[in-house]
């Protein structure tokens, strides 16, 4: 019961995430996006909006705006860096487990929803 559940300081990567939260990368909106999506987490109202420019199956640009907790917003920022320049196929292939591993922080089932909000939004948007 004491393990694996939201102890924010237990993990080295929490600082990386918090840095993304405080200074989000790729924040804003792509002009003339070819795809965009707004997604909410009903748990708490965490919101992310992604706008993308995709050409020939490649993600040329991706930006986000959003509002919510450090985990949802930090994860969104990290995700933009991760998929920018990748193909749509590569982005779609990122599994939930993979992304959680990349974030590298241990989360309980409830906070996981925050962390996975942006990945799920992105996947819905690039179907």
């Amino acid at each position: 019961m004491q393990e694996g559940t939201g102890k924010m300081n237990d993990d080295v990567n929490i600082e990386v995430l918090l840095d993304h939260y405080r200074s989000p990368r790729n924040y804003g909106s792509v002009e003339n996006p070819t795809a965009q999506i707004t997604e909410h987490n009903p748990l708490c109202g965490d919101t992310v909006h992604f706008s993308l420019k995709i050409e020939n199956g490649k993600i040329l640009d991706i930006k986000f705006v959003g509002q919510g907790c450090s985990i949802s917003q930090g994860a969104a920022s990290i995700l933009t860096e991760l998929v920018k320049g990748k193909t749509v196929g590569e982005a779609k292939a990122i599994r939930e487990e993979d992304f959680l591993k990349i974030l590298g922080i241990r989360l309980g089932p409830n906070r996981e929803k925050c962390a996975l909000l942006s990945l799920n939004a992105l996947k819905k948007c690039i179907i």
Binding site: M1, T5, G6, P42, L43, C44, G108, P109, N110, R111
Partner: protein, 423 residues
């Protein structure tokens, strides 16, 4: 593994507190092993909290237990994914959920096919739809108390939107071939619903093999607490259904003028969840799996075969159920003499008709003097009572902690009852 009732009995505190208790009413509800009782009280004593929405340790832990139980249930019945498992109160609520939500889409003249051996919980929810002009039909049972599959097939027609049938009858013990019935339904484009209340606790049940659309069952009939039950549904079907109860947890977004729903299964779990119930059910499944569902089925087969062997020692005994143990669960309904339905004309004419029978209530009360607990009444299957020509029956339904010696004791006392109360 062979079921060892004597050993298992030690796991159930009720039997140490009532050493003489011969509990033979397991079709109504089962006793609880220590592991289940402790799972529930440990939950209260360590992580009790609201699931899904708490950003703190005990809530994360409770959520893991709750969703872990869902996963365990899904594996136990062979579902493809935990999201196909909806936690509800019991079989009754599950079938009502279906009648209310699927009922929304039906139109006047559509038919629902049931069988003559259904429990009220698989009758009344459908009867409600009669107000909307839905027609209810019943597949007949044969004289040997088995389902008439030809009649079922014949009554499936272009208008049959839904068929709902029990896997094991709680009165007759008849085991229906629900795989066959579901396949007939599929071929006919009819939704198939299996009432698993009396089968899931007693034998291996695998929805991937049955290939039904829905399956409902109750925790309290399989060693788990009351207040927790399960609706399995194929994900594609659950996805497109309207929600049943509205409230906390089942929503996506809500404004004053609009609302969207959460994904399944949460869409169907409005209000604060019975987490301790799910935790108890998980412990119950662990207990049952350790024994093995195949072993449990074998044990109950041996129980009913033992009953068949000794039942004729009781004069005037009538039993109601298939005599082929392949098609028969452990349930044994019987009467001493003819306990006919009430018929006022006949009654007044024949002066006093009780002379050749003992009412099942009197049978049960007599057995209770020796601490043998059996059920008596209509077993929530009144129409079936009429069908088999009785007003009520007594019923014995053994489980894993019952053995042949207890059945022998039961029959001994039953013979005494016949002598003392019969005329």
């Amino acid at each position: 593994m062979r079921v060892n009732p004597e050993k298992l009995k030690k796991d159930f505190p009720i039997f140490s507190n009532n050493p003489d208790l011969v509990y033979l009413d397991n079709a109504a509800t089962t006793q609880k092993p220590s592991s289940v009782i402790h799972a529930v009280s440990d939950y209260y004593s360590t992580v009790n909290s609201n699931v899904h929405r708490g950003v703190y340790k005990i809530s994360e832990a409770a959520t893991e237990m709750y969703e872990g139980s869902r996963k365990k249930v899904s594996e136990f019945i062979g579902a493809r994914d935990p999201s196909e498992i909806v936690f509800l109160r019991n079989t009754t609520e599950a079938i009502n959920l279906l009648s209310y939500t699927l009922g929304r889409r039906l139109k006047k003249g559509d038919e629902i096919l049931l069988t003559e051996m259904e429990h009220h919980s698989n009758l009344i929810p459908w009867y409600f739809l009669r107000d909307a002009g839905i027609v209810i039909r019943f597949a007949r049972i044969k004289d040997d108390f088995t389902l008439d599959y030809d009649d079922f097939q014949n009554k499936l027609n272009a208008k049959t939107a839904i068929a709902s049938f029990t896997e094991t009858s709680n009165v007759l013990g008849s085991i229906n071939d629900v795989r066959n019935l579901s396949s007939m339904c599929r071929d006919n484009g009819t939704i198939s619903i299996v009432d698993g209340a009396q089968s899931v606790p007693h034998m291996p049940v695998d929805v991937s093999k049955i290939a039904c659309d829905y399956l409902a069952f109750s925790g309290h009939k399989m060693l788990a607490p009351a207040g927790i039950g399960v609706l399995y549904g194929r994900k594609e079907l659950l996805d497109e259904m309207h929600p049943f109860l509205g409230g906390g947890e089942m929503i996506g977004e809500v404004g004053y003028n609009n609302a969207t729903w959460a994904d399944v299964p949460w869409k169907f779990e409005a209000g604060t969840q019975n987490v301790e119930g799910a935790v108890g059910l998980s412990a119950a499944i662990d207990y049952l799996k350790a024994i093995g569902m195949d072993s449990i089925r074998s044990h109950e087969r041996s129980m009913i075969e033992h009953i068949f062997e000794v039942m004729n020692s009781v004069e005037d005994l009538r039993q109601f159920g298939p005599l082929d143990s392949d098609k028969r669960g452990g349930v044994f309904s019987f009467n001493i003499g003819d306990v006919k339905p009430f018929d006022i004309l006949n009654q007044a004419a024949t002066k006093f008709a009780i002379s050749h029978s003992i009412h099942p209530h009197d049978v049960a009360a007599f057995l209770d003097r020796s601490n043998i607990a059996v059920r008596s009444g209509h077993h929530c299957a009144m129409p079936l009572m009429g069908r088999i020509g009785v007003s009520s029956t007594a019923r014995v339904s053994p489980y894993i902690y019952n053995d042949a010696a207890e059945l022998d004791l039961f029959f001994d006392e039953l013979s005494k009852c016949r002598k003392e109360l019969g005329r």
